[in-house]
Assembly symmetry: C2
Homo-oligomer: 319 residues x 2
């Protein structure tokens, strides 16, 4: 609950903040935003994350101070855990032994924290950090504004995913007033890839096809393409969405060869076509319009099976 | 001035609204938004545009009623002209003879109207229509909200161009409250192309290269590619921005063969690199970060010249 979080902050002084491994913009932005908020209140606070911070978020204020830890080694009154479904998601040993504050906007949270503040109406945890700032009587500094704006932009797909509410944009408006620059943050997210992304996109897009119905698009990425492009993790962010720009396309599958005869597939769909169910058939999972799975075997055969399952899902929908 | 516009509306009954040919989202969205506003005040109003309304905006409420006219043929007390630099931009004969209200957010407007309401601090004319609604004491209906939201989204590049202000997002927030659905509008704009866009993108992207400096990207589109893809106008919207996703790339040129030995080139840049000046050298023009030009001659040679001019522009900048 928010009131418990406010009381905890008021009565204590030393905090750490963490989020899940391979953090996204909401994880990094909300963690840093909270860190700046606590510091502005005169508290000691630091952000600890296991592994690297993706380059898109490296320009956020305070990102350079984030410590890469695999084991808890500070003396904290409490550790905030941002956007994690369970206590293992941060990949930091020792978290289960300390006082934790679970802050999340996913209704599926396991309530693993000593305090649990879950608000599934928030578009991003960033929105909750803004509310927390107001609740503790803090001022939205430029640093808080930039970090929280990043959280909002990335978790709402630049304000056009269905989770975008009037409150999201009201908060974003306040953050701009406080110093966030939409174009600077947009550039950090969307224009900050290495050139290898373009090389990889060229190769992957060369494989794009439609099924017979014309409603399902398929794309492939071989191990060789990744090597040729000298691609790194994240270079293919969003590739699966490219064919969905066509109005005829109702669902898409993008298969990546991860080892000989081993593939990861990303599924996407429009409207009420449920690709989470399709992914589950193959041992995967996800959300209604975005899901993933891992499979082994003959590539053509696997793709055929997935496309057939997607066709079933389209049939079961109103699209 | 806004007060003059309010007075005009209060004292009259029959209005037409028009915008430039090949209208963008701000042109269509603001025109329809204003039309719904006038109707909600009990006035007669219709939108007239020369030529077709692009498919991205066809799902807006009222879009199906837009009349395609080349000559003014109604009996109007006044005609609103939205987002036009001069009286010829709508391509409608007879406009120069009637009472016109010029509403624009470009400081370069020629003040051609009987009334001129220019607000260069507005991110889109849509923002001005919202302000007009407030000024006349109107209610933001669901129809007005959807149309004006479209104007904001398209003119701000989904709220991350530098023109996005705290007021833009405040207005957008109010529009969502009034019934605009960000995901529905985003889908209409970004997921509403024909499949030919994907076919064309595949072919165009197959030509992407960098210059020796690694800072300038080049892409080409032949007449044959357009034919192969069975592409239509607008299918290549935004292609020129694709290579800019790489942080190393500071400027990009995308050349389209429009006839044998005749080419249109789009230029894009980041930061303070001025491609309008580059375009001017070749008889074209535009804005600092987005410009265009037409040239004739040998393709390789022309591309070399443009890349050399872009390299100069990068050198003259702080990038």
């Amino acid at each position: 609950m928010l009131s418990q979080v406010v009381e905890l902050i008021e009565k204590n002084n030393d905090f750490a903040i963490t989020t899940h491994i391979k953090p996204d913009g909401d994880g990094v932005g909300s963690s840093l935003g909270l860190c700046w908020l606590l510091r502005s209140l005169g508290k000691n606070a630091e952000v600890i994350v296991r592994g690297d911070v993706p380059p898109s978020y490296a320009s956020l204020p305070g990102a350079e101070e984030i410590r890469d830890v695999s084991e808890l080694n500070g003396n904290y009154d409490a550790v905030f855990v941002i956007e994690c479904s369970d206590i293992d998601r941060p990949g930091i040993a020792g978290l289960e032994k300390v006082f934790t504050v679970n802050i999340d906007h996913h209704a599926t949270s396991e309530h693993f924290g000593s305090i649990n503040w879950i608000d599934s109406t928030a578009s991003a945890v960033g929105e909750m950090i803004y509310n927390l700032c107001k609740a503790v009587g803090g001022r939205i500094t430029k640093e808080i504004a930039e970090c929280v704006y990043m959280a909002l932009v990335t978790d709402t797909g630049s304000f056009h995913f269905p989770n975008t509410s009037d409150r999201t944009l009201k908060v974003a408006s306040e953050l701009i007033k406080a110093g966030a620059k939409p174009s600077k943050i947009g550039e950090a997210v969307y224009y900050n890839y290495p050139w290898s992304r373009i090389e990889l996109m060229r190769q992957v897009l060369s494989t794009v096809r439609r099924d017979e119905s014309g409603r399902i698009a398929m794309m492939r990425q071989t191990l060789e393409m990744r090597e040729n492009a000298e691609a790194i993790d994240g270079d293919n962010n969003g590739f699966v969405n490219i064919p969905l720009a066509a109005r005829e396309i109702k669902a898409a599958v993008y298969m990546r060869e991860v080892a000989p005869n081993k593939y990861r597939a990303s599924l996407r769909s429009k409207g009420d076509i449920n690709v989470a169910r399709v992914a589950e058939k193959f041992g995967g999972g996800g959300h209604k319009n975005a899901a993933g799975l891992g499979v082994e075997g003959d590539w053509d055969e696997l793709e055929r099976d997935i496309v057939a399952a997607l066709a079933e899902a389209i049939k079961a929908s109103s699209e």
